[in-house]
């Protein structure tokens, strides 16, 4: 078992910012260990050159390192062929690539099935297709924050061409039964896409076992650098798809009137890629593999157990938290409010509703006050506005954990929340 209490020592930011800094925003981005930072520095100091084109030794080195990073990431998620990994900037870009490329073949009346708990990156790219008459449907959630599978099954139709769901909700923490959803999608003849942004960093993920056609995830949420992310895609599907962006690296031949495409995955990697980023991501994968993803998952589950137990002990007045209470189907994300501020439309009037002063502490004030105590949490809609409104809130505060967080960090969260309520009670 990893010695969790000492993991912070691998991360220079904790040394630099000191003991009173408690980082609880890893669902937004993770901190980086020395090994990742050093991999970037090492690449730029010793191997820097462009990939795929130089005949000289240095360029071959860079190309080799870039290719080995692809192989490493491919193995990490159980992909059988490194050509199934397309390097992109992040999850958002991977999903935009899919919406553009797969969306090209959709026609008016075709449907895309999402869930109400999606991040905006798995909503907005598909909304672009509404212009050509494509319809979007959303599977709902149940009261406990789990996905309503009956609702999902009822919303799939012969016109459903794509089913795209998040593996783990970045607000509720819900771990969705993606293998089961994949079977439903494939029985219907739909393409099945998984947003793995919040799962690949936190649990063992095997694309073969999930049975997805595509999976999108970001490097920066899994200890890697910003600017590098991955699209996993089944090789036979990637080969059939049209490219996303045009330019260098992605072509075989260019004439004045037409071009032909490079093989997969280069076909989808126009321009000089984030070579150092891919190498940094590979170092992050090594770090996580060394910890063991089962151990990483257990650690996240344990922190959620502690969170639930401290939540009941603390008895903070007005505290509402969201998402499943069972740590076995819950990623390490804790969204909460102190009192609830409901969303409203501009047509409504506060006076007509009789809204007065209550016992609510706004998520902004929660985040600011926690920040004053050295505890970094996020507040807002967390790029999931439809979900935030679905849970009848205008915003939430969110603490999210990763491998370097400890039970002491969770205790600090609740101590600081007690302080917050004292400051703002009226």
């Amino acid at each position: 078992m990893p010695f969790w209490e000492r993991i912070k020592e691998d991360f220079p930011i904790f040394h630099n910012l000191g003991e009173n800094f408690t980082y609880l925003d890893s669902a937004a981005t993770s901190q980086k260990p020395y090994s990742v930072i050093n991999a970037l520095s090492d690449f730029y100091s010793r191997h820097n050159s462009n990939v795929h084109r130089g005949i000289y030794r240095l360029s071959e080195e860079a190309t080799d390192l870039y290719g080995r990073s692809r192989e490493n990431v491919s193995r990490f998620i159980g992909s059988s062929d490194p050509r199934q990994i397309v390097f992109v900037r992040n999850t958002t870009e991977a999903l935009n690539l899919l919406a553009y490329s797969l969306g090209h073949d959709l026609v008016e009346g075709d449907e895309i099935l999402l869930t109400i708990m999606e991040h905006h990156s798995n909503i907005v790219p598909w909304q672009f297709l509404q212009e050509k008459g494509v319809r979007i449907k959303y599977a709902d959630i149940r009261e406990d924050g789990t996905l309503d599978m009956d609702d999902l099954a009822s919303k799939i139709s012969p016109r459903t061409k794509i089913v795209s769901v998040t593996h783990v909700s970045n607000v509720l923490g819900t771990i969705n039964p993606v293998a089961e959803i994949g079977r439903i999608a494939h029985d219907n003849g739909s393409i099945f896409i998984v947003d793995g942004a919040q799962s690949v960093p936190h649990m063992p993920v095997d694309v073969g076992r999930i049975g997805c056609d595509f999976m999108a995830f970001s490097g920066h949420k899994m200890l890697g650098p910003t600017g590098i992310g991955c699209l996993y895609g089944r090789i036979d599907l990637l080969e059939k798809m049209r490219p996303f962006m045009g330019g260098g690296e992605m072509i075989r031949e260019v004439y004045t009137d037409h071009s032909t495409w490079a093989d997969v995955p280069e076909k989808f990697e126009a321009g000089t890629p984030d070579i150092a980023g891919a190498i940094g991501l590979s170092a992050a994968v090594d770090y996580l593999r060394n910890l063991g993803m089962e151990n990483v998952r257990d650690h996240g589950r344990e922190l959620m157990r502690i969170t639930f137990s401290l939540e009941s002990e603390a008895g903070i007045p007005g505290l509402i938290s969201y998402g499943p209470r069972n740590p076995d189907i819950r990623g390490p994300v804790y969204a909460f409010n102190i009192g609830s501020i409901h969303p409203m439309s501009v047509e409504e009037s506060l006076a007509d509703r009789g809204v007065g002063l209550g016992t609510v502490v706004h998520p902004h004030d929660v985040a600011s006050t926690l920040d004053g105590k050295g505890v970094a949490v996020r507040s807002g809609h967390h790029c999931a506005m439809p979900l935030t409104h679905r849970i009848n809130a205008v915003a939430t505060s969110r603490a999210s954990y990763y491998i370097y967080n400890t039970p002491e960090d969770v205790r600090r969260l609740f101590h600081s929340l007690e302080h917050t309520v004292k400051v703002y009670s009226r």
Partner: protein, 128 residues
């Protein structure tokens, strides 16, 4: 207590016990401003006589910065002329609060001023 803590206390006093909170029946003008991103809401009610703000009240919900700022603003503009109210600059509000807010919370601070100035414009008191 540091200067910043003192200013924070002042803001929190306004937040906890806002001045001029409530509704005016039959106002000269009324307007609600809403930030969909964080839910901060301020509704302004005005009675204007001879181009002077004779009475101002607000209702609102949201964070301490938006609601505290609304309370302070109503103190500031009560009795002032509409032209004086229209010429209040955003920097004055930020200075009035006197705390390091950062760009995202400055939006909270300025919501009440926007509401007031839109309300005056709606009532025809905007600059010609």
């Amino acid at each position: 207590m540091t200067d910043e803590e003192e200013r924070m206390e002042v803001l929190l006093d306004h937040y906890r016990s806002p001045h001029n909170y409530g509704k005016i029946e039959n106002p000269t003008a009324e307007l609600m401003e809403y930030n969909p991103v964080c839910g901060d809401t301020v509704q302004i009610f005005l009675i204007v006589e001879n181009r002077k703000i004779r009475e101002i009240k607000f209702m609102g919900r949201g964070c301490s910065v938006s609601q505290g700022s609304a309370s302070m603003l109503t103190d500031l503009v009560g009795g002032k002329t509409v032209d004086e109210a229209m010429s209040i600059a955003p920097e004055q509000i930020v200075d009035m609060i006197g705390l390091p807010l950062g760009p995202s919370r400055e939006k909270c601070a300025l919501l009440p001023l926007n509401a007031l100035q839109k309300c005056l414009k709606k009532a025809g008191f905007g600059k010609v």
